[in-house]
């Protein structure tokens, strides 16, 4: 692609699993793509304590917020594309929860844009996780971590996103 082309931005919120390799391949197409970064967030069992997680979301707003952050990433770094997929519903330990793929001519922009997208998605996208214990009963809602706010805060997005 040339620098004049708009980056490909694709945001999806879905219950179904996603195919990491297929999504990465979509962004690696083109003769000027030199770097593709993928980040996959996976549901942990926490040492066998959990069966998985139940993810609630705010339909419509979830897509809007992730798209807004992806567009901001494309303004900040010269990326040729960004894909973000976030699942909702019941997710078993070992299954994928979230995928971010970014592509650029050089690795720096792709790494930075992917990290920015994940940091901001965690604090702005309306999703809430609840634990499901190993015996299948519903556990507590997961509490937000101050560390996530700190990670997002270092990008200084608050003013940019208003």
């Amino acid at each position: 692609m040339t620098m004049d082309e708009q980056p490909l931005i694709d945001v999806r919120v879905q219950a179904e699993p996603f195919d990491v390799a297929a999504e990465a391949k979509r962004l690696s197409a083109g003769s000027d793509v030199g770097a593709v970064v993928t980040f996959t967030g996976i549901c942990r069992s926490d040492g066998g304590r959990l069966n998985g997680l139940e993810l609630e979301h705010y339909p419509g707003m979830a897509e809007n917020e992730i798209t807004r952050v992806a567009e901001e990433a494309a303004r900040r770094w010269p990326i040729s594309g960004a894909i973000a997929i976030h699942r909702y519903g019941t997710i078993a330990a070992g299954e994928d929860i979230v995928l971010v793929v970014t592509a650029s001519a050089h690795r720096g922009a792709a790494f930075a844009a992917a990290e920015f997208l994940m940091d901001w998605l965690k604090t702005r996208a309306p999703f809430w996780k609840r634990e499901i214990f190993a015996d299948g009963t519903a556990g507590p809602w997961v509490e937000a971590k101050a560390a996530d706010d700190d990670a997002a805060g270092r990008w200084n997005l608050d003013k940019a996103a208003e």
Binding site: Y58, N64, H86, V98, L121, T123, R124, P126, W141
Partner: protein
């Protein structure tokens, strides 16, 4: 206007959504939270700690001092834990 509740706020309130018609004196999101808290124990339980509650008007994040005039849909939810 329509109110939406998510996660543990939804569970404490005991419903996912409702239509409301607050009095004219309720001008901001913070006013609305205060008014909701006066509606019963379940709302006091859900909104008792207003520093924790997050809000969105028509699917955009807002602060407690944001005016609610013209809002079609106001959502209340705990801090987000996606990703």
């Amino acid at each position: 206007m329509k109110l939406l509740y998510f996660a543990w706020i939804r569970e404490r309130v005991g419903q996912a959504e409702e239509d409301i018609d607050p009095p004219a004196a309720v001008r901001t999101v913070g006013d609305l939270v205060a008014w909701l808290r006066g509606r019963g124990e379940e709302f006091e339980y859900a909104f008792g700690n207003e520093t924790v509650v997050r809000a969105a008007i028509d699917r955009t994040h807002v602060q407690l001092d944001t005016p609610i005039e013209g809002a079609r849909e106001i959502a209340f939810f705990p801090p987000m834990t996606g990703g």
